[in-house]
Symmetry: C2
Subunit: 294 residues, 2 copies
Amino acid sequence: MDNWDEVRTAFQVARMGTVSGAADVLGVHHATVIRHIDALEGKLGVKLFQRHARGYTATEAGEDLLLVAKATDDQFSQLEGRIKGSGDAVSGELVVTSLESMARLLAPIMTDFQAEYPEVIVRYLTGARLFRLEYGEAHVALRAGPKPQELDNVVQSLGRLRLGLFASPSYIERHGKPSGADDLAGHRFVGPDETRLRAPFLTWMKDNLKPEQIVFRTMDAIATEQAVIAGAGIGFLPLWVSHDHPELQEVMPALDEWSGELWLVTHVDLHRTTKVQAFVNFLKDRAAADWVCS
Amino acid sequence: MDNWDEVRTAFQVARMGTVSGAADVLGVHHATVIRHIDALEGKLGVKLFQRHARGYTATEAGEDLLLVAKATDDQFSQLEGRIKGSGDAVSGELVVTSLESMARLLAPIMTDFQAEYPEVIVRYLTGARLFRLEYGEAHVALRAGPKPQELDNVVQSLGRLRLGLFASPSYIERHGKPSGADDLAGHRFVGPDETRLRAPFLTWMKDNLKPEQIVFRTMDAIATEQAVIAGAGIGFLPLWVSHDHPELQEVMPALDEWSGELWLVTHVDLHRTTKVQAFVNFLKDRAAADWVCS
DNA sequence: CATCTATTGTGAGTATTTGCACAGAGAGGG
DNA sequence: CCCTCTCTGTGCAAATACTCACAATAGATG
């Protein structure tokens, strides 16, 4: 039973009762149908049909095959309907991944997206390791830094993530507010724990600050934010935190060199699907409205 | 979804996770697998797999297909087992047809056959019209007269059905017993109702008897037998009736020209099956033992 | 009873599919 | 860090399967 097409042919012959009728339905020549039946019977070692001039009638084995193949035909038809429909429907899972630091940006957007497309179940993957689109781990990824070069990925720019240097009123009260880029010596900073990262603002930190100035070190974006709010030091935060925490003060005008490009990445095999396109467009609209300007 | 082989290929790819692995299982080249997947995705308009250097991972649509195709694979395997097994098993229905007059011969044989193969359900078709093997109405037919010439039928001789002229004691008591072939005038006979039949003993009756001598006419073999037993007249009965009714007397030695050839007919498509062969052999053994000699 | 139509069955030519060889790309190991 | 191994992807040649044409048979029909 290693050739499902022959089963399908036999099914149509059993259903129609004639080779010619089956050939019409299948859209092939009747000689092809005869050869399929002969091959299948040869492999099974059992006659499936009795031949006579008025057509083929199924034997017991043929009747058995008819029942099984009819069920298969139904199931394949339903499958085809589901698959073709699902291609245009925005439903099922939508898996998004990004660096942990993006959670504050993405969570509200994904919430709104789910509200607009109630059929969708949104999963947001974030963690230590990079989830890979190539393995189907996620449909959409948000990446920062240099433009991703993976071959099978569709990469589009989402704009720049603008950062500013913020300090809390409690910090300014104790240490004062720097007057400008030249007045940072002696100030305390909140920064990342690792120096291997290549984000643009980190380069600036290494160039303009002494290592001992970074008194609070963490990899966690939320922890950074909380540390700045608590007054542990001056820290880089996205410009839009002033929406949630208007008490924070920008200690100096944001420099362009601090901002990093944001990339919206999808796998080429999924990029064309309606579901992914719906999310991508939704995300781009919101990004343009919320991030880039403010 | 008009190519079940492509579905089967996609199923193996989803199961194995790699094109190469699926190609090994299917016994085809991996390029063929790739082309099948591409064709199927093209027809469905949806990506079933995400391609990467380490293999293929199924999308949601691919997962759906995997489930359906796995069920199909299971069902086909079971079907194959049933069909291949049923080819060698003596089970299911065995349909036998013959002229009504054979019922007395065949019924005990079929009963014994069923006892030896309890898995078999024996159906015995008999009636006015001829049941045709070509249409699958019966597996085995018993025919009398000239050798059947149907193209698709396997015909083998089962020997001659020997008939004798019998009379009951009550008839002999009233009308006497003919002394021989020359002493039949004035005797009463039990015979067939129709004259169109071509059985050899009918020809003899037409040649040697006046029509008015046939006083009891019936097409039914049982009725003929009962009429002879009741003394309605002299009648042609198979020689073996003396087993069941030893009181009947043969009024004259049986002539060879009375006997007709018996043919055992099977359809060529079913002749090779174990079930049919089992019955054919069983029938030939019993025929040799019961009919030909006695 | 002759004819007509619908069906199966088979041989030959053609077209599509398949197999092979090689290239490219990651992943893992020493 | 390089090397190797596996897996995917593609152009080209061969094999297989398909289509076409014709023959034959058996009902159907007038």
